[in-house]
């Protein structure tokens, strides 16, 4: 059973946001990494890029397929997780510790559109 962590915000496309003050760390959920299998490449935006809630900002790739990453929030990318450039498999080891981008949230009210841990647990076990 995939791990779901309390206190994070979850999207229907299986990304999470961990909020820290005015910033949000965005990554894919444990459920998503399980579905994908071995991650061999993570395509990330660059620092300074703007991401928009509901829009694609990169991709996670397994041997066989690429899956788009959809940002759950809007804002400026202030940091990318460069560790994933050389070790994309970290996403499989711990998807919640290995976030993909850090976003300076431009509209915190967008978080209201996302699911709680309890809701996501129900959603992803359907």
């Amino acid at each position: 059973m995939a791990n779901v962590i309390e206190g994070l915000y979850y999207s229907e496309s299986h990304e999470y946001v961990k909020v820290d003050g005015e910033f949000g760390y965005v990554g894919i959920t444990d459920f998503a990494q399980e579905q994908l299998g071995n991650v061999v490449y993570v395509d990330m935006p660059e620092e300074g890029d703007e991401v928009e809630a509901g829009s694609e900002f990169g991709a996670v790739e397994s041997v066989k397929a690429a899956s788009d990453l959809i940002s759950p929030v809007s804002g400026e990318v202030v940091e990318i997780n460069t560790a994933l450039e050389d070790e994309p498999e970290l996403v499989n080891k711990d998807a919640f510790a290995n976030w993909i981008i850090k976003v300076k949230l431009s509209d915190a009210s967008e978080l209201d559109n996302l699911m709680s841990a309890a809701d996501y647990r129900a959603f992803s076990s359907k």
Binding site: G37, N38, Y41, D43, G58, A59, V63, K64, A66, E85
Partner: protein, 361 residues
Amino acid sequence: MKQTCLYDRHVKLGAKMVPFGGFEMPIQYTDITDEHQAVRQACGVFDVSHMGEVLVEGAEAEKFVQHIFTNDVSGAPVGKIFYGMMLHPHGGTIDDLLVYKMGDEKFFLVINAANIDKDYAWISRQAEQFDVQTENQSDSYGQLAVQGPEAEKVVEEVLALSCRELEFYTFKLIEAEGETLIVSRTGYTGEDGFEIYGSHAYIQAAWDRLIESKQAKPCGLGCRDTLRFEVGLPLYGDELSDEISPIMAGLGMFVKLDKEEFVGKEAVARQKAEGVQQKLIGIELEGRAIPRHGYEVVADDKVIGSVTTGYCSISTGKSVCMALVDTAYAKLDTPVQVRIHRKLQPGKVVKKRFYQKHYKK
């Protein structure tokens, strides 16, 4: 959607099933990388029962095969296998296939699952001008591919089929369990290995024995693709198609232009003499972004072609692909780029073989 005779077994093993060539096939049981490594290092077994089989018999069987097939089977000994293509008159590829010579007037054709109907319609139509009978036997055969450096030992010991003396690209008929099996030293992985054709009942029993022995890992189509790709083997639909000729794909060695005639000969002879506009190349990228089928290949700020198959190679860890590009850019070491997720990733033209084959010859 069709199912092979091993469908229930795949589901029971927990395989992820996907549509392929009109069949529901296992893409992986556990993990593509593990299955890939099992074949490179030990032994894997694939259900390839989706492949099509056509029997050609009759006084003009050899003449007929020579007519529809690009390779030259004339005067071959019984037991020999040839790889080649069936071509359209314009030189595009109808299918790539194996031809087993079973007798002076008997040949067994192994064709791609996705092309069975198209191929058999073509074969039947061409056969009208010859003294031959053709039979589509695709639904009666199951087929296993046992592949890897330990394949010989596994086939001998677990299946009790004597295959040691078979040379690469030869086959023999073996009587077992009250039927006649076809066993060949062939495969699609770049490793030593065997392909076994038999009734559904035999193939089911053989599969069970292999899985229970734990000496052959069940392997899905996912790693079949990464394995064949690494050693530069083409997949119909990617590197060959109704539009892509074997000359464009760099497979001219399987097209015998010194044969008296075959369908498509004039077109491919012209391509060989005058050169082709597009050629299949290998590309190695500098970074880790993964080129995939259909992605644009760019050079000198213009699109020069597209990726046919690409992966982060499991054996070498490099991002590599095969691509069909303008011939002007096909020379080794030519700098090219692949557009991946909107970004242009730099790379260069390399040989299409990204990993060395380990055939036992």
